[in-house]
Amino acid sequence: MNVLGRLGVPPVQMVMEGRLALRSKIMKITGVVAVSAALALGASACGGKSDSSGSGGGGDTVTLGFMGDLTGENSGIVIPPKQAAQLAVDEYNATSPKVKITLKTYDSQGKGEQAVPLVKQAITKDKIVGLIGPAFSGESAQVDPVLEEGKVPSISASATNAALATHGWKYWHRLIGNDNVQGAGIGGFIARQLRAKKVFIIHDASEYGKPLAATVRSTVMKAGATTSVDAIDVQGSDYSSTVNKAKAFAPDAIFFGGYYAQAGKLLKQLREGGVRARFLSGDGSLDKGLAAGAGGTTANGSIIGCPCLIDPNGTAGAASKKFAADYKAKFGADTAIYSAEGYDAATAFIAAIKAGNTTTEKINTFLSTIDMAGVSKKIKFSSAGEPTATDVYVYQVKGAQLPLLGNAKTATVK
C-alpha cells in the first residue's frame, strides 16, 4: 500500500503547496475575469467565428489541448493528469481510427496571465477542438471566459473551486467533485461510517477551509450529530485554546478544514492535550507533511478525504487496476494525484471524436449527453458542467503513507 512513498520526489507535497497557491489565487483573480472576458471579446471579434466552428472538420487529425503548470513549482500536481491524458490519446491512436488525435500541451505555469495568451493561440492558431484543463481554479477563472467566447469545450481534471460552476458557462466542464461535494462526502462518511454523534469542527478561516468545514458541519448535523466549531490562526503556533474547547466538547470525531501544515500541528497538540477522537480532514491535508507535522505515529488512523482517486494498486476496481498497470508500463511511475481524472477527461473527448464529432460545437453537444464509465467516476455532466458523480475517496494515514481506504460512501474503518 505504498501509495505516496514511491512517487519519487513527493509530488503530493508539491501538490498541496500548489493547492495552497491556487486557492489563494482564486479570489484575487475573480476581479480580473471581467477584464479577460473583455479581451476575449476583442479576440473573437477579429476572426474567432470562422475558426471556432471550422476547425478540423473533415481532416484526419484533430488537436486536443492540455493546459496547466507543466514546469513550475506546482507541476507535480499537473504532470500526472497530463501523462494520463497522453496515455488515453496514444491508446486511441493505436487503434488506427479514422480521425487521429494530437495532444498539444500549453504550459501556463499555473498563472492566469500566461494562460490567457496561450489559450488564444490554442483557439486561433492551433484550432484545438477541446481543452483538458486548465489545471488550477485561479487560472480557470481567467481562461474559461476566453474558451466560452471561442466556443471551445473544456474539461478540467483538478480545478475544484465551487464558484467556477456558477457563471453559466456552456462550454466548461470538470471531472472532479468541487469543494461542496467533498464536504458532503466527508460529512456523510463521518455520520454513516464512523457513526459520530458529536463532531468538533475546526477550520483555518481560509476561503477553502471555512466553506469546506461548513459543508461537513451541515451534513453531519442533518444526520443528527451535534457540533461545535472553532477556528485557528494559520500564522499562529499555539492552538491550545482550540484544544481546550475540543477537550471540553468530548467529540467522537474531529474535522479540520485547512491545509496539512496546520493540520499536523493541530493534530499533535490535540493528542498532547489528551483529545483522542478520530481526526479527519480534506484534500488540503492529503500530504505526507501531515504525518511529519504531527510527529511519529501520532497521525496514524487519521482519515483524509479527497474527490480525487489515487489508486496505484488498483484496489478501487478493474478499470482502475488496468489504468494503473498501463500508466506504470508507459511512464515507469505509479499513478498519482489527478491522473485518473486526467485520463477520464481525455476519454470523454476521445469518445466524442470516435462518434464522428470533429468540430467544437458538435463535441460540446456530445459532452452534454455523454454517459459512460470512467476510471475515477462515471463520465456524465450536469447542465452546469459539473460531474454528476459525487464520489469522494478517503485515505487513511499509516506511518508516512496515505493508502486509499475506499469510496467515502462504502469504505469502512477498523
Binding site: V9, Q13, E17, E73, A205, V229, D230, A231, I232, D233, Q235, G236, S237, D238, Y239, S240, S241, T242, N244, K245, K247, A248, A261, G264, K265, K268, E272, G289, A292, G293, G295, G296
Partner: protein
C-alpha cells in the same frame, strides 16, 4: 439573532469557568515566551530608542540553532525528566549564542553605521524592517534548503524536530500541568530574575541603565556607549535564543517566518508592560498570554489576536506609558 448569540456567549463563559486552569496555564506558558522575547525589544528601546523589528528574526535564528543542535545529538526522541532538562539547558545555550551573536552582527551591520552618521531614528527603523525581511528571505530561499537538503521552493515549509516526551508533571483534580508547560514557565521566570539581578547589580548593568537614562552624561562619566549597545543587543538576543529553545520544547516546529506573529505579540507585550521597563516585559508578556487565552475561550479562537490588541488599546488609553511605565530610565543608578 441576539438570543442565540447571548446563549452562545453564556455557554462560552461556562466553558471558561469549567476550563479555567487549562486556559490559565496555556496563557502563562504562551506569555512566558512573549515575555522573554519582549525583553529584547524593551532593552534595545531603553538604550537606543529604537524598535528593533528584526528581533523576530533573531528569535527565528535561535529556533534553527536549537534544531541544528538537536540534529547534532542525533535527533533524540521522547526525552523526559532530568534528561530533558539537561538537553534543554544545552539547547538554550545554543539558541542564546546563535541569537545573541546574530543580534550583535545585526547591530554592527544594520544600525551602527546609521548611528555613526547621525541618521534619524526613522532611518534606523526602516533599516530594521529591511533587515527583518532580508533575514526571512535568506532563510527561506538559501539557508533552510541548504541545511535540510530541500529543493529551493520548499524552504518556506515548516521543519519539525520532535524530541519531547510530553507528560503531566502535576495532576490535581482538574488541574493538569504538563511537563513542557511547567518548564517553559519556570524557565522564563528564571531568566527574568537572572537578567534583573544582572542589570541591577553588575557594572555592565549599571552602564546599561546609565545609558538608558541619559546617554550624553553616561559618556561623560566614562561609559563606552558602543560597548553598552553591543551588550544590550547580545543580552536581548540571548533572551530571544532562550525563548526559542522554550518555544521548540513546546511546539517542536519552526519556519522561516516563525518570528513574525510572535515578534508582534512580544512587542505588544513590551508596550503593554511599559516599553523600556524590564519587569514590565514580564508583566506584559504574562498578561497578554492570559488575555489571549481567556479571550479565545469566550469569543472563539479566531478572536485571539483581536482580544489581545483590544486589551492593548484599552490599557494604553488609561496608562499611555504601559502598566509599569518607563522605569529603566528612571531607575536610580
Amino acid at each position: 439573532m441576539s438570543l442565540p448569540l447571548l446563549r452562545r456567549r453564556r455557554t462560552n463563559l461556562n466553558n471558561l469557568f469549567e476550563q479555567f486552569w487549562p486556559y490559565t496555564i496555556d496563557g502563562l506558558s504562551l506569555g512566558a515566551i512573549y515575555a522573554l522575547m519582549a525583553l529584547g525589544y524593551t532593552m534595545v528601546y531603553g538604550v537606543l530608542r529604537l524598535i528593533n523589528f528584526a528581533h523576530s528574526e533573531i528569535f527565528m535564528i535561535g529556533t534553527f540553532a536549537v534544531l541544528g543542535t538537536l540534529h547534532l545529538f542525533g535527533m533524540p526522541s521522547n526525552v523526559s525528566g532530568f534528561a530533558l532538562i539537561g538537553l534543554l539547558i544545552v539547547l538554550a545555550v545554543a539558541g542564546a549564542v546563535a541569537s545573541g551573536g546574530s543580534a550583535v552582527i545585526l547591530e554592527y551591520v544594520a544600525y551602527r553605521p546609521l548611528r555613526r552618521h547621525g541618521a534619524s531614528r526613522l532611518a534606523a527603523l526602516i533599516s530594521a524592517i529591511g533587515a527583518s525581511l532580508f533575514l526571512q528571505q535568506l532563510f527561506a530561499r538559501v539557508v533552510i534548503p541548504a541545511a535540510f537538503h530541500l529543493p529551493k521552493e520548499k524552504g518556506a515549509l515548516p521543519i519539525q524536530g520532535h524530541f519531547v516526551q510530553k507528560s503531566d508533571a502535576v495532576h490535581i483534580g482538574s488541574f493538569e500541568l504538563s511537563n513542557d508547560r511547567l518548564i517553559v514557565i519556570v524557565g522564563a521566570v528564571l531568566m527574568m530574575v537572572l537578567l534583573d539581578v544582572f542589570v541591577e547589580r553588575t557594572k555592565l548593568g549599571r552602564g546599561i541603565r546609565a545609558t538608558a537614562q541619559d546617554p550624553e552624561t553616561a559618556v561623560l562619566m566614562g561609559v563606552n556607549i558602543d560597548r553598552i549597545v553591543t551588550a544590550t543587543f547580545a543580552i536581548g538576543g540571548a533572551m530571544a535564543g532562550v525563548a526559542a529553545a522554550l518555544y521548540m520544547l513546546r511546539f517542536e516546529e519552526t519556519r522561516y517566518d516563525v518570528g513574525f506573529l510572535l515578534g508582534i505579540k512580544a512587542f505588544t507585550a513590551a508596550v503593554l508592560g511599559g516599553i523600556g521597563n524590564l519587569r514590565g516585559a514580564l508583566v506584559g508578556g504574562f498578561l497578554l498570554g492570559l488575555f489571549e487565552m481567556y479571550g479565545s475561550a469566550i469569543f472563539g479562537s479566531e478572536w485571539q489576536n483581536v482580544v489581545a490588541f483590544s486589551v492593548l488599546v484599552l490599557v494604553l488609553m488609561f496608562r499611555p506609558t504601559g502598566i509599569l511605565g518607563e522605569s529603566l530610565q528612571q531607575a536610580r543608578a
